[in-house]
């Protein structure tokens, strides 16, 4: 097993804590992309607190691992992850969305310590990540590049151009997570613009495909370790997730793609998060 029991407990505690923080930030900010933030959080937690070779004291280290959050609207999860990892103080998040804040709904790499790419327009991140993976190879560097895309985001053709090049250039140092939460803005992904058979598509594009439950930290960890052993092909981890994971009234609700919370609703969200983690013994 990839994780020790201590590591598992620590990751679960971190994810739980950050879910609570996301609820508070969403309330203070007047709204956020909380649904897709909650589905994506666990993957980011496992990457940032276990696998990424990064050092908050040297955020610009040229040899650091890279992470590109292509579904940039999940900044509501990403920003607290970076803060918790020590890239900046939590206090900065008080102004999320507000005037002159470094934190809008989408991450700005020039304003946020530890952020590797400015994203928010969907369908850009995978190409940027491909460039980083090539950058590592051309400079003989060992760092790995990780990217996360939304499933709705995969409607954009640019992803498939990048997928083609990732396989063509044999970028085994590139790993992509698909946050397969099955929902976009106007409805369920398969209803608006279907992707299935998604694993077959990636395979046909020349990628190694791993399928996991993307809200299960153990499965996420195992998948990353498998991806790290790749030698020939880039790896895509199709992570089946629940949009709004941890907050019962948001789960699998398309409408919670973006939403705001008053204090009463936020309280309900906090209670739900506690219940979910209590049931898992965390």
């Amino acid at each position: 097993m990839a994780l020790t029991n201590d590591e598992y407990i620590r990751l679960m505690e971190t994810a739980k804590k950050l879910r609570h923080e996301m609820v508070n930030i969403t309330m203070e900010a007047g709204g956020a992309h909380i649904g897709g933030g909650l589905s994506a959080l666990d993957i980011m937690v496992v990457l940032y607190f276990k696998y990424l070779n990064i050092d908050p004291a040297h955020p610009d280290d040229p040899d650091r691992d890279r992470f590109v959050l292509s579904k940039g609207h999940a900044a509501i999860a990403y920003a607290p992850v970076l803060a918790e990892r020590g890239f900046f103080g939590k206090k900065l998040l008080d102004d999320f969305n507000k005037f002159k804040s470094p934190f809008g709904m989408h991450p700005d790499a020039n304003k946020i310590n530890g952020c590797d790419a400015s994203t928010g327009s969907l369908g850009h991140g995978l190409s940027i990540a491909t460039g980083m993976a090539l950058g590592a190879r051309l400079q003989g560097k060992k760092f790995r590049t990780y990217c996360m895309v939304g499933d709705g985001e995969l409607n954009e053709g640019s992803n498939w151009e990048a997928a083609m090049s990732g396989a063509h250039f044999k970028l085994a140092n590139l790993t992509v997570f698909v946050d397969r939460n099955m929902h976009m803005i106007d409805g369920p992904v398969e209803k608006i613009m279907g992707l299935e058979p998604l694993d077959e598509k990636w395979k046909a594009f020349g990628w190694q495909v791993i399928q996991i439950n993307g809200n299960d930290v153990k499965q996420i960890a195992d998948a990353i370790e498998t991806a790290q052993k790749a030698t020939e092909k880039p790896v895509v981890i199709i992570a089946k997730t629940v949009k709004g994971y941890g907050v019962d009234f948001m789960e699998n609700q398309t409408a919670w793609h973006y939403g705001s919370l008053d204090s009463e609703l936020a309280e309900k969200a906090h209670q739900s998060i506690d219940k979910v983690y209590a049931a898992m013994g965390a």
Partner: protein
């Protein structure tokens, strides 16, 4: 023409209870009744752009392509080629940049009858940051031959513009905001015509040329400065950026000899640039300043805070107008010899 297809007109009552884009969605439904050739397209933003209101009424005449703007504008071009009249809605940033080549080459080059209603223009989606701000769209769209570019002042003018677009041949780009931007107009009946600006305040000391959200702000600034400083400030609502109402601009040059433009756009390539072109080519001298985003990516923040910061609200306009009143320019009594 527009009146006979409407059935209803939109008043300030509706405009206060409906957003600019909700009015758009409803007007498109009315138009859809009379025009079976109208079809709607969006890219996973049917709800956000309010073209979803048309979708609810005409589900069989609506195509959601998923998050794929380039594909969408290509599809719209193909549909137009078969005789349909596509209305395409996504955020302004994606219509003008993600799909720019499809709009230019597939739609404008072929001079196809496609109407683009681009929402979330300027910094109306302020907290979303630069990836969702559209402060270059007017420059891009007006550089495409055959394209008509309109920035309505408010919801009521949006209703007028959308109706007028149906009868106006060729591609049209209409840029709207996002939410409850306050209205300038109280009724639709003020003679909206594509390509013809509206003088909403008379004046002789200086002319403000405004578009979009700055129209209301300019009117308020004009009223304030008249009352408090006795300044006579003409305000022009330049709702159509292309084709541009050159006559109104030249009238302002000769009659007020001071012009200031306000636009929710980069000062490079937008309304101010278009007005400057006209002035420069006329050979007439004039004090001139353009106000907008000074070739920067806007900060993050709620739109009201950003408008204040970039001097696009009434207070900012008051300040900027006073600056231009102090500005030197070469006085020349003998205007006739300048051409």
């Amino acid at each position: 023409m527009s009146k006979e297809i409407t059935g209803t007109t939109w008043t300030v009552y509706d405009a206060n209870t409906l957003t600019q884009n909700e009015i758009y969605g409803r007007v498109l439904c009315e138009l859809g009744e009379k025009h079976p050739e109208i079809v709607g397209l969006s890219a996973d933003l049917a709800k956000s752009t309010k073209i979803g209101i048309f979708q609810e009424k005409f589900p069989n005449r609506f195509i959601n392509v998923g998050i794929a703007e380039q594909n969408m504008f290509g599809i719209a071009a193909g549909m137009a080629r078969t005789g349909l009249l596509p209305f395409v809605s996504t955020m302004a940033v994606f219509a003008s940049m993600r799909a720019a080549e499809q709009v230019r080459t597939d739609i404008c080059y072929q001079n196809l009858n496609v109407k683009i209603i681009a929402t979330h223009g300027g910094v109306s989606f302020g907290p979303a940051g630069t990836t969702h701000h559209a402060t270059e769209d007017i420059a891009i769209m007006r550089s495409f031959a055959n394209m008509t570019v309109i920035v309505p002042a408010d919801g009521i003018e949006t209703a007028n513009a959308v109706r007028a677009a149906v009868d106006w041949p060729g591609p049209v780009y209409i840029r709207t905001g996002r939410g409850f931007e306050p209205n300038y107009y109280t009724t639709e009946d003020y003679g909206f015509k594509i390509g013809k600006s509206v003088e909403i305040r008379e004046g002789t000391d200086i002319t403000i040329i405004a578009m979009g959200i700055t129209v209301l702000q300019a009117a308020e600034a004009s009223d304030f400065l008249k009352k408090n400083l006795g300044l006579s400030i003409r305000v022009i609502n330049m709702h159509t950026i292309k084709p541009l109402d050159e006559e109104a601009i030249m009238k302002a040059v000769t009659e007020t000899r001071r012009i200031i433009t306000f636009e929710e756009h980069n000062i490079v390539g937008g309304l101010g640039t278009a007005v400057a072109d006209v002035i420069a080519q006329s050979g007439k001298g004039c004090a001139f300043t353009k106000v907008g985003f000074p070739d920067v990516y806007s900060e993050v923040g709620y739109p009201e805070d950003l408008y204040a910061y970039y001097k696009l609200d009434a207070n900012g306009i008051i300040e900027k107008v006073q600056e231009v009143m102090q500005k030197d320019f070469e006085e020349d009594e003998n205007w006739d010899d300048e051409f």
